[in-house]
């Protein structure tokens, strides 16, 4: 195998960075929920790591990327514009082939590992819109099916440029620009989030009870982990340790910084005070918007994109109160809106000054062609994901049920779906003054005997 060691090392590191985004997202979302549902919120992210990793090895990679990098072994590429192919070889071919342009080749299995992490975080993003009220088993089934019939094909549409000119996705072939997943990840997840919060309905007490974020430091911790991991997401999508990765890295940083500031400025003007949750949300909105665009903009136009995304998303999160849908943690206001902004912005500001492979946008002499393509891409991904998620959500609701009982929801989903609570609120037990419980179930008697033997 003739591989580029530097590129391979960067892609392996990027894969680990992108994986970390999902636990980061769990903290971001977990902090935004109320204390009684924080574990369930975090579990909805963690379960996607479990489920999607297995799907990816079984059939996900080939369904999304067809014969990527294996054209010599299986030419011609059997993929079409809508989906890859089902090889059922369990990544065996990927383990023995290479992927990428001459000189920048990496082992195909490394590319597969990198793309797996994107497939993991995309369904996890959806979970924010259905906080506090979703049956865990139903969510797991939804994540399995949605990832299979929506994410894998859409990733193929956008990311798979095929091999030797054949087998690419229809949007990739058509010249749509999406460097790291503004359409396939963010619009895709945002559309499904909208569908699900409509299917599931509002939380009990929406717009009436206080639903304050229970742990704002968690929100900031999660935003920090997401930001850190996002360098793997964006700069890693260069699939090489080269100049383009550097451009994506720097654009990601400045756009995110600008969005953080913009969100705080909106809050200062509108509410009188800049907030910590606003800083964290602004950063995420900037990261979302720069994702499709990071390799096609100059650093200056990236800052402008960040300013637009931060301020528009800060206003968009208020829409749910006006329109009456309960997108609990603002997946639509941040990911759908941010993704659309980044996707369309390319139609105006994409430039080949910085990346020879880029198509020029409207303001760089390229006319309106790219803008039209970007709009079609955003719209088709939105329509497909929304429709499938809505139908799938409806079927789950009608069969096994998608929501927990209202008693369980009021008492707390953590206790009712997982038999756990995130926090020990009985302050006396931490001092040892009054034991707050005892082992009663499996192994209870045995453990008690042991602890007595230890003098405990």
């Amino acid at each position: 195998m003739d591989i580029n060691a530097g590129d391979t090392a960067w892609l392996l590191a990027s894969s680990a960075l992108v994986l970390l985004m999902t636990p980061g997202l769990a903290f971001f979302y977990g902090g935004l929920t109320r204390a009684k549902s924080t574990l369930n919120m975090m579990m909805m992210s963690f379960i996607t790591i479990g489920i999607v990793s297995i799907l990816w090895a079984l059939y996900g990679f080939t369904l999304a990327f067809g014969a990527a990098g294996t054209a010599s072994a299986t030419s011609p590429d059997p993929s079409n514009g809508l989906w890859g192919h089902l090889s059922w070889d369990g990544l065996a071919t990927a383990a023995t082939t290479t992927f990428g342009a001459q000189g920048d080749q990496v082992p195909t299995i490394v590319f597969a590992a990198f793309q797996l992490m994107f497939a993991i975080i995309t369904p996890a993003l959806i979970s924010g819109s259905i906080a506090d009220r979703t049956k865990f088993i139903s969510w797991s089934i939804f994540a399995t099916i949605w990832t299979t019939i929506v994410y894998f094909p859409v990733a193929h549409w956008v990311f798979d440029s095929g091999t030797d000119g054949s087998g690419g996705g229809w949007l990739a072939n058509w010249g749509v620009e999406d460097f790291a997943g503004g359409t396939a990840v963010h619009i895709n997840a945002g559309a499904a989030a909208l569908a699900l919060c409509l299917v599931l309905g509002k939380r009990i007490g929406f717009r009436k009870d206080p639903m304050r974020p229970h742990n704002v430091p968690f929100v900031l911790l999660g935003a920090g982990l997401l930001w850190f991991g996002w360098f793997g997401f964006n700069a890693g999508s260069a699939l090489a340790a080269n100049n383009l990765a550097g451009i994506a890295f720097m654009n990601t940083q400045v756009a995110t910084a600008a969005a953080l500031c913009a969100w705080l400025i909106v809050e200062k003007i509108r509410d009188g005070r800049p907030t910590s949750v606003g800083a964290a949300s602004g950063a995420v909105a900037g990261l979302v918007a720069i994702t499709p665009a990071c390799a096609f903009l100059t650093p200056l136009t990236s800052i402008l994109l960040g300013l637009i995304a931060g301020s528009v998303c800060a206003l968009a999160v208020g829409l749910k109160y006006k329109l009456g849908y309960d997108d609990s943690l603002d997946v639509i206001g941040v990911h759908l809106v941010g993704g659309i902004i980044g996707c369309l912005y390319l139609g105006f500001f994409s430039t080949d000054e910085i990346n020879p492979a880029a198509t020029n946008g409207l303001f760089f002499g390229g006319g309106g062609t790219l803008l039209g393509k970007q709009a079609v891409a955003a719209l088709s991904v939105f329509a497909y994901s929304f429709t499938v998620a809505f139908i799938l959500g409806w079927i789950i609701t009608k069969t096994i049920g998608f929501r927990i009982s209202s008693d369980a929801e009021v008492e707390g989903i953590d206790l009712n779906e997982h038999s756990e609570t995130a926090y020990e609120f009985d302050t006396q037990s931490s001092t040892g003054a009054i034991p707050s419980g005892q082992l009663t179930g499996r192994d209870g008697a045995k453990d008690q005997a042991t602890s007595e033997g230890d003098g405990g």
């Binding site: 206080p210 639903m211 974020p213 509410d271 907030t275 949750v277 606003g278 800060a314 208020g318």
Partner: protein, 112 residues
Amino acid sequence: MRLVTAVIKPFKLDEVRAALTAFGVQGLTVSQSSGYGRQRGHTEVYRGAEYTVDLVPKVRLEVLVDDDDLDDVVEVIVRAARTGKIGDGKVWSIPVETVIRVRTGERGQEAL
């Protein structure tokens, strides 16, 4: 004997405790509590959505005192806990029938 109960601002606890110790009070009980008085609660804003927080965190402090010391102890607490701003809290006292020290069985004034 009297039980003096004071509900004060949490950050004033150290000053009140120091003032009571200086006065000669031997012990007190402190618990975290929450509530509201004339100041009502406050508002918090998360992603533009405004929430009214009705119950404000307070510290509840309880001291058992001899009848003769009552006025002085109340005065010490009030002086130490005052900021002059709304929400400083309240102090009140009630009569106590008897007090027993658990370790020795002493009753009444000896147990204070």
